[in-house]
């Protein structure tokens, strides 16, 4: 089955710094999602981004489907950005919407 790898596994930033999180996937996909899980466990869907670039405030994401990777950019990080960031892709073509998650990047933003 498709493999999803995220890097780095852990990241510590000073407030105000920028960062780039990477997601590699082993097979072609028609969908890719980025999620943020806050320290209390709540998962929030950040982006649906099968290809191209999207921006939402200080966050943006780029997926290069032909090269099988996606990047999540966080600019001017804030302490509230702390948590775990996951990327996820559909399993087996994805018609049912089943997702395979990467293991995540744990981000800690220090004041």
């Amino acid at each position: 089955g498709i493999q999803v790898e995220q890097s780095p596994p852990d990241l510590i930033l000073q407030e105000g710094a920028n960062s780039t999180l990477r997601c590699n996937f082993s097979d072609s996909v028609n969908n890719l999602q980025w999620f943020h899980q806050n320290p209390w466990g709540q998962l929030i869907n950040l982006f649906y981004i099968p290809s191209g670039t999207k921006q939402n405030g200080r966050l943006s994401a780029t997926t290069v489907a032909t090269e099988r990777y996606s990047l999540l950019y966080i600019s001017s990080s804030q302490t509230t950005d702390s948590g775990v960031y996951f990327c996820a892709v559909p399993k087996d073509g994805g018609s049912q919407g089943n997702l395979i998650f990467g293991k995540g990047t744990k981000l800690s933003v220090k004041p």
């Binding site: 998962l43 649906y48 996951f86 919407g97 998650f101 990467g102 293991k103 995540g104």
Partner: protein
């Protein structure tokens, strides 16, 4: 508005006891629903999904079962819990269209089997 409810938030159960976790959604009809488990160490594993009433697909053979008795209700159950069933259980619902969709997750149930 569209919302998803999951309860209880925390549960401590002895080994061998039964389990029932409930998830309901509001503001939509015929949603695709999912149960995920997150063990310590972060990864999310898909357990079950459902595309309609009474339709359940299992992704991983295990001690758990799922049911969908109503359109907007998804239940995760076990007859006898094992220590290995401990984890953070999340219900999710796919939103949007078939070509442009996202996911809304419930707030999760943290289950500890003792």
């Amino acid at each position: 508005s569209q919302t998803i409810h999951q309860w209880p938030a925390t549960l401590v159960q002895p080994v061998g006891s039964p389990l029932s976790l409930e998830c309901t959604v509001e503001g939509t009809s015929n949603p695709n629903l999912y149960w995920y488990r997150q063990a310590a160490g972060r990864g999310l594993q898909l357990l079950f999904y459902s595309v309609g009433i009474g339709q359940i697909s299992s992704e991983v053979p295990q001690n758990l079962s799922a049911s969908r008795p109503q359109d907007r209700q998804f239940i995760l159950s076990s007859k006898k819990l094992l220590l290995s069933d401990s984890g953070f259980y999340l219900c999710a619902w796919r939103t949007g269209t078939i070509t442009n969709y996202g996911y809304t997750f419930g707030s999760g149930t943290r289950l500890t089997v003792v």
